[in-house]
Symmetry: D2
Subunit: 342 residues, 4 copies
């Protein structure tokens, strides 16, 4: 059976990556592509890398255009998904790449996003305990943020096994596509090449409560998160360096065992052999996660580091993976675990 | 039917890309992987982006190991392919990613490579006039060099239509993977980032006679090539800026028409609409070629510019495309035309 | 004696580089800094690399603000310099980093810039035959374009010595700062990293007539220029690959001798020893030019390649060098020939 | 007075940067340049960016060659400085860019470097409490490691003011020149571009005890350090993201005040205005440090982030700054605080 899919927000980086992945998916037919300011333009000029869709023309993002598809991917600015979802009805599978339906806490949502909370949808990170079951058959999916994907996968095994104190410290490096196609001076090539810089420092980044939500649920206690994102000179990729103090008596062997157990059956998460460390290049363009963990005895901390492609596993690949689960398709269908490297 | 494939030289950039592409090919089963100094090592430590093959162990490059496959890809240093080919016999399809069997002229071979000429095999650039027919059913394929791929595609339509004088001037920018994994000081990241530099200037680059051979065959007269390669700070991609004086009376419309005709039915070559220009990012990791042509009236030159991924269409993708032709498979099987961008 | 200098357009890349160089100039005191949309802002937020000027506030670009300085650098959009110059009077040295006063031909100006021609000022490329004398004591300087700087230095010795046919073919790679701080989608970091692309192809780039003007003056005959600029993933630097057919009977020794003679006494131009080639990294942040030349016998072409920093020797360094000449200061004062590498 | 300076290890990145800075120093005359495997080669082929020294020839690294200078910079592999220093005698100022004399604890030295401890010299980070006084008139200087420079400057004010718990968590991004010119596969341009990866994870990096030593001295109690370095795709620069839990009752205002006090009179450290964050590009090629600090209330952590150029303030610039202090010269002499940006 072939599912007919529409993509709203097809001219941005998230929408483009959804399309790149769907083009390789054997059970998908690509239907309507919608935009906003660029309605009427050919995709070839906006996403020149999507050769098979070069002649497609962007339509308006409206319920009329999006109707009649089996699946609709929303790659829209925050706050616009709820209205579209309501108009599309309950029968269509809606995969929201935005933030609108990720958080359980209305208070957190309002504090970090400044608008009324729209609700909570099943969370599209199948590797998290309980997440896969919630996605099966669901007609609504909230795709995780890119940083929360990398961070949650890196740390949840430590919390699930009760090995870490509930104060996580995270520094994550992101490629520039994480900031989207917005025309901002600090995102110009001249500014980002040769430069690393932090942003959203001090607990203000919007992905912070999402990480805390994921880790707290697994830990069974409130996990605070100190999160510092940095922008690095590459288009794609997130390397998340995550650590937490070890609970008393924890050993390195326990840590290793917890991670091996957590990912033993996960097709996309590759816990590296000891002595090797993840690199973002190795997962570029793929849905794979590379992960390593260490126990630093002198500092008494568990250090877990993950590498993902922010646009693939961090957004569009995770979205298609979750779609596969929701539709009852094989979870790996259409998703590559080979990175484009070097 | 599934073909069993061995790859000799699996730890280098060319061999790695062959494997990345074959992993997505529905009619291929990956057999022996061979190396040289790294025999016995796991591929996971050498090609960390090829997650599905991480546990595979490199075997010696010998006739014993390579025997028993339907297809053998050779990604070996120049001069080593002939001996291997002879031992494997005539029944196996051998796809040589090296230079050994590309040149017709023994004199050119000896001048540029400094060793005896081993012979000439059908040339793996199906888009060239006559090439596809020579590949069909062949048991031997000489994969073109990366620069000759981009340059020949950019210029042959002008010569095929008799529009250009037989003196081509080419400046091509290449990503660093074109230089291979060799440990040379000028290839260190610290040296290449922030830097563009030429090499092999003045007619001494080994790809020069190959370009001249291709263009001369199409032109029906000897085409001299002034070729300057430059190294640019990116891992992959070739942008070839090619020009030649227009023959008397040539018009811009004639030039455009010649290119439209040449590529009308080619699945991998995308002649861009007028006003848009190729970029290497758009074809990264894909077998697509982006191409544009202009006629500069004041300088009276035809300027044709192509973008390819040097490892994909420029090496491994072109190799698999030619293998498909030789095996009678659909030419596009297993090959993507969507680049990994941004 | 200390000269008091104002910089109009201090928030852009050219203005910032003028300031960076002037900060190291022992005979200069930095006076007014002017902007446009960012008047009233501190320079620290706009040019964070200029620590000594972080607290300076941008003033409006007006005759009142710019008056009372010995030297005024104009780093303004094309077409705005003439009006400012007229208001400042004849006593002040005006160094125009824009294009307004570079071209002799009003027809060329109007064709390429689309506005009335404002006139011609002494040309700020002291290495060109005759240029130094015209700059001495001048109160007006037209700073060359960045591409014409690299290209003219690479090719004028061949034309001065009568060695090259009057049809030059040039392909130049430029870092992204050459395109300025404008917020355009194709200049985003996500787009430029990993990508090389051409622009202004086919004789339409505005620097073309300037190159032709410089080379024709030296050659004593009209030199046509086929010029293709490409954008490469680095912030700074231009590598200009320039070639022309050799006149009959020319030898490689003659070519070498012509270049050695042309640059024997030039403090900023470094003709490399044979066998070494320029790289843009080697001249980053410096006023040096690295240059090499070869004669390709099989293609019968002279190939000259230069590397400059587009912002330094290509704009602000060349401007300060010319200012030194005009003011009667030592030409090298305040200018470095050490690049910031790696 | 002019001091005559020799540089041992002039072909590496550290040695090259020492030379680049000394070329701009008004009280220095550059004497002998020594190398190892490249003795007899011209510097122009090894450090092509140092145009004024292009014709200089490398001599052997021996006491004979290094004798007769006022100052000798050692940029040698670890473990080689002690023997050279002993032979040169007490009258010459020796500035060791290596690690040999940085650590007080012989046990730490032996654990992390695996050889006998050679001793401890005055530490070349003048901004640290007490360091400047120890450097004045000294004939021996141990230049800090690049990471300890960035990290110690970022965190010492918090510890000096008693605001932070003695468990620091540090994740630092470094440009590739930090790894030197060694020919290692993971340092190839093809591997580093587009990639971020960690190394030396889990308390094993050699700079860890040096950071702990610096912070503990200031804190008056043992400060443990969890340090994770990452390699990012740029040639130069370190961004150090450092945090520690705040002591009970600490407020954001106290934190800000402590940092303002610590750096009020420091010429090279620029505590940014609130709301702006450091970037490595802004300090490229300069001896400046950009620094910002925040108090994250929800995680109760002090987060301090510094940007330096690893080769300049992190090595050669810090070395020259300390040399200035030792020689009684103005501390800023010959050192720029303007970065080469964009």
């Amino acid at each position: 059976m072939v599912f007919r899919v529409a993509v709203a927000g097809a001219s941005g980086y998230a929408g483009g990556e959804v399309l790149r992945i769907l083009l390789a998916h054997p059970e998908i037919e690509i239907g309507a592509l919608t935009g906003n300011s660029n309605v009427g333009q050919e995709l070839g000029g906006l996403q020149p890398h999507l050769l098979p869709l070069a002649g497609r023309v962007l339509e308006p993002t409206s319920a009329e255009v999006l109707a009649g598809h089996d699946v609709v991917f929303l790659a829209l600015p925050h706050g616009q998904s709820a209205a579209v979802a309501q108009q599309l009805g309950d029968a269509v599978l809606i995969v929201d790449c935005g933030a609108d339906f990720r958080l359980h806490s209305a208070a957190d949502w309002e504090k970090f996003y400044g608008s009324p909370h729209a609700g909570t949808w099943p969370y599209g990170l199948p590797e998290l305990p309980g997440a896969r079951a919630a996605l099966e058959g669901s007609k609504r999916i909230a795709v995780p943020g890119c940083f929360p994907t990398g961070v949650s996968l890196a740390l949840f095994p430590a919390y699930a096994a009760g090995l870490a104190e509930p104060e996580a410290v995270i520094v994550a490096a992101s490629g520039t596509s994480g900031a989207g196609k917005a025309l901002k001076p600090h995102l110009l090539g001249s500014e980002v090449m040769g430069s690393v810089s932090p942003y959203g420092v001090g607990g203000v980044h919007r992905h912070t409560p999402e990480m805390s939500q994921n880790l707290s649920a697994v830990a069974g206690e409130k996990v605070t998160v100190s999160f510092t994102p940095t922008l690095v000179p590459m288009p794609r990729g997130i390397l998340a360096t995550c650590s937490a103090k070890a609970k008393p008596g924890v050993t390195g062997d326990q840590v290793r065992a917890a991670y091996e157990k957590a990912f033993a059956d996960e097709p996309f998460v590759h816990l590296l052999p000891e002595g090797r460390w993840p690199s973002t290049a190795a997962v570029t363009g793929s849905n794979a996660v590379q992960l390593q963990v260490a126990y630093d005895e002198s500092a008494n901390r568990v250090i877990a580091i993950s590498a993902i492609d922010n646009l693939t596993k961090g957004t569009a690949g995770g979205a298609v993976q979750s779609m596969n689960v929701a539709l009852g398709l094989p979870e790996e269908l259409g998703l590559s675990t080979s990175g484009v490297a070097p």
